[in-house]
């Protein structure tokens, strides 16, 4: 039986304790700090940062959801096509404990998310002729390889700036010379044409707005746990993904959130804050070094070090 979705979402918030291989992952979150997941009928999928790249990690939603992928994944690996991103099943990857107190493990699907943008953004940024040509090139690659995606649509394409790459080929089939995705490619061409017609007059405005929603800052970090560290004239602080202020830009320096905590520095010294901006450790130390993996904080005062816990309680004397 598959794991409940609540287990998956909880695991994404506690990766060290919940994943066998992906324990260093950081999940993209919504403005409320909950991991952002997308579902199809058979899979729940999250976008993660892991080892310097972006990936999709997916939980099968039913016992039968993996069976087709188990046939597809090895066949795709043998195909060895450069336009197919890494795609594999991680056996026993999700670790959790059920209500009976029994340790449980579940297989997950890991899928590399190539650098680039989604189809909708490509429509805003690129000339239609370029996108039509890229779709034609991808269709030719499919036919040459005997590859049929079987679920080709805008959401399942990635634009790298030079070409389209397919995503989510869970139902792909191989070994046919017929272009079974032809109808899907025609629909994608139509989307390019329709977008061109609809956005001719506002293209520049729409592109500028969509490409950079977090504007008005001197510097912008990436989204971690629903919050983005930004620098303004008044200092560092945090906004949500809609660019609404969450923690005022008041710090001399601030780091990204990890497991609900972020290191900050004021004129008085370094401290540690929670997601509401409250100090867990007051900003009066020379160095505050938070180890998210161990829920411990190393703190230096007048050259001596002490260890604090996640809640800001000092565990050892300064020595």
């Amino acid at each position: 039986m598959a794991a409940p979705l609540s287990v998956f979402v909880r695991a994404l918030q506690m990766p060290r304790e919940s994943f066998a291989t992906l324990f260093e992952l950081r999940a993209a979150t919504d403005p409320f700090g909950l991991p952002r997941t997308v579902r199809t009928t058979r899979l729940a999928e999250a976008t993660i940062d892991w080892r310097g790249a972006q990936w999709l990690v997916a939980l099968p939603l039913s016992a039968s959801a993996l069976s087709r992928i188990e046939r597809t994944a090895p066949a795709l690996a043998r195909l060895n096509a450069p336009w197919l991103a890494e795609y594999r099943i991680l056996r026993d990857e999700l670790l959790w404990e059920d209500d009976m107190g029994r340790p449980r493990r579940h297989d997950l699907l890991l899928h590399r998310l190539p650098s680039g943008t989604d189809f909708a953004e490509a429509l805003l940024r690129e000339r239609p002729g370029r996108l039509h040509a890229a779709l034609d090139a991808l269709e030719a690659e499919f036919v040459r390889a005997g590859f049929v995606h079987n679920n080709l649509k805008a959401q399942n394409l990635r634009w790298t700036g030079a070409q389209f790459l397919p995503l989510r080929y869970h139902d792909a089939t191989l070994g046919t010379s017929r272009d079974r995705d032809a109808e899907a490619f025609r629909a994608l061409h139509r989307l390019v044409d329709e977008a061109t017609a609809a956005t001719t007059e506002v293209h520049d405005i729409a592109a500028a707005y969509d490409a950079s929603p977090l504007t008005g800052h001197l510097w912008v970090s990436r989204t971690f746990e629903g919050l983005v560290c930004v620098e303004d004239q008044t200092g560092y602080g945090y906004v949500d993904t809609q660019n609404r202020p969450v923690i005022a830009t008041q710090f001399r320096w601030a780091g990204d959130f990890r497991e609900g905590r972020a290191e900050v520095e004021t004129d008085e010294g370094m401290g540690l804050i929670d997601r509401e901006g409250r100090y867990v450790i007051e900003p009066r130390y020379e160095i505050v070094d938070y180890d998210a993996a161990r829920s411990l904080v190393r703190v230096r005062r007048r050259g001596k070090w002490a260890t604090f816990d996640y809640l800001g309680r000092r565990l050892t004397p300064f020595e």
Binding site: P4, S6, M14, T41, D99, S295
Partner: protein
């Protein structure tokens, strides 16, 4: 039977009855921690709602795969809808429009060196813990019966997967005797659609010194020490054979059907992983 996919054209309904009576203030061990029954009930109910909403979510939003009722019971023999605006039944899409309260929960976990580390995680809450007054479970189940009957009577639902009633309780009804509770449970189980009868699943949360748990118990696991647990076991639906394989996968190969729609000090949200929610839109050969 029980094979109809749950889609927008063939929806189903989930009716969740939630005990909020005074006895819910008692402490129990749940998931290895000491907590009140009310906290455990709220956790189980919120996980169930999270599962229902998120399993209906697609890239174009939450799809109307089912209707949901939340029937709270407690207080001065009070049975009332816990849905926004007091509505009796809401589509899952409309329920999802309501932003839940986000609760920050600090959880403990043991590191490989044996130390305990803390983590903060965010959990959405639609239902808060409640513990006051009587336990009008019979009246709450009558309300669920009437809602299910009305839902099944609608022509558009005639071919659908039948409604599922979850009753989350500590088992001590104060508004009826055992016979009356068995009778209303039987009336619920007798309702249905062309795809099968309504399923009544009892989620029983109780103080248990031995720390026992149960999940879809078989006949030889019928509770013997706790009168309320026995009654809830008897009232629950026998799970249809189509679920046997999935339940055995969960319980272990030694488990022999038939299984009862009941859990004891455990959630039953995993039942939802056995249902076929949403249509396969991909083109396959």
């Amino acid at each position: 039977m029980y094979t109809r996919s749950i889609t927008r054209t063939h929806r189903t309904a989930f009716l969740v009855a939630i005990d909020g009576s005074g006895s819910m203030a008692e402490e129990i061990r749940f998931r290895g921690r000491s907590t009140t029954k009310a906290e455990a009930v709220a956790a189980v109910a919120n996980e169930l709602l999270f599962e229902l909403i998120e399993r209906a979510r697609r890239d174009d939003g939450v799809r109307d795969y089912y209707d949901i009722a939340l029937v709270g019971y407690g207080g001065d023999d009070e049975v009332r809808s816990l849905l926004p605006g007091g509505e009796e039944l809401l589509s899952v899409a409309r329920l999802a429009e309501r932003q839940p309260v986000l609760r920050t929960e600090t959880v403990e976990h043991r590191l490989p060196d044996g130390r305990i580390a803390l983590r903060e995680i965010t959990t959405p809450c639609w239902i808060g813990p409640r513990a006051a007054g009587q336990t009008p479970m019979c009246e709450a189940l009558r309300r669920c019966r009437d809602l299910a009957a009305a839902w099944c009577a609608r022509r558009e639902n005639a071919q659908s997967f039948p409604p599922v009633v979850f009753n989350i309780t500590d088992g001590e009804a104060t508004d009826c005797d055992d016979g009356e509770l068995r009778a209303v449970a039987a009336q619920i189980r007798a309702l249905g659609t062309a795809d099968g009868n309504v399923l009544l699943v009892n989620i029983h949360l109780a103080a248990d010194e031995q720390g026992r748990t149960a999940f879809f118990p078989a006949a030889d696991e019928r509770p013997d020490g706790n009168r309320h647990a026995r009654l809830l076991y008897d009232c629950a639906s026998e799970m249809p054979a189509v679920f046997d394989e999935a339940i055995r996968a969960e319980k272990g190969p030694g488990a022999l059907p038939p299984f009862r729609g009941m859990s004891y000090n455990a959630s039953a949200a995993q039942l939802l992983t056995m249902l076929n929610i949403g249509s396969i839109s991909i083109k396959t050969e």
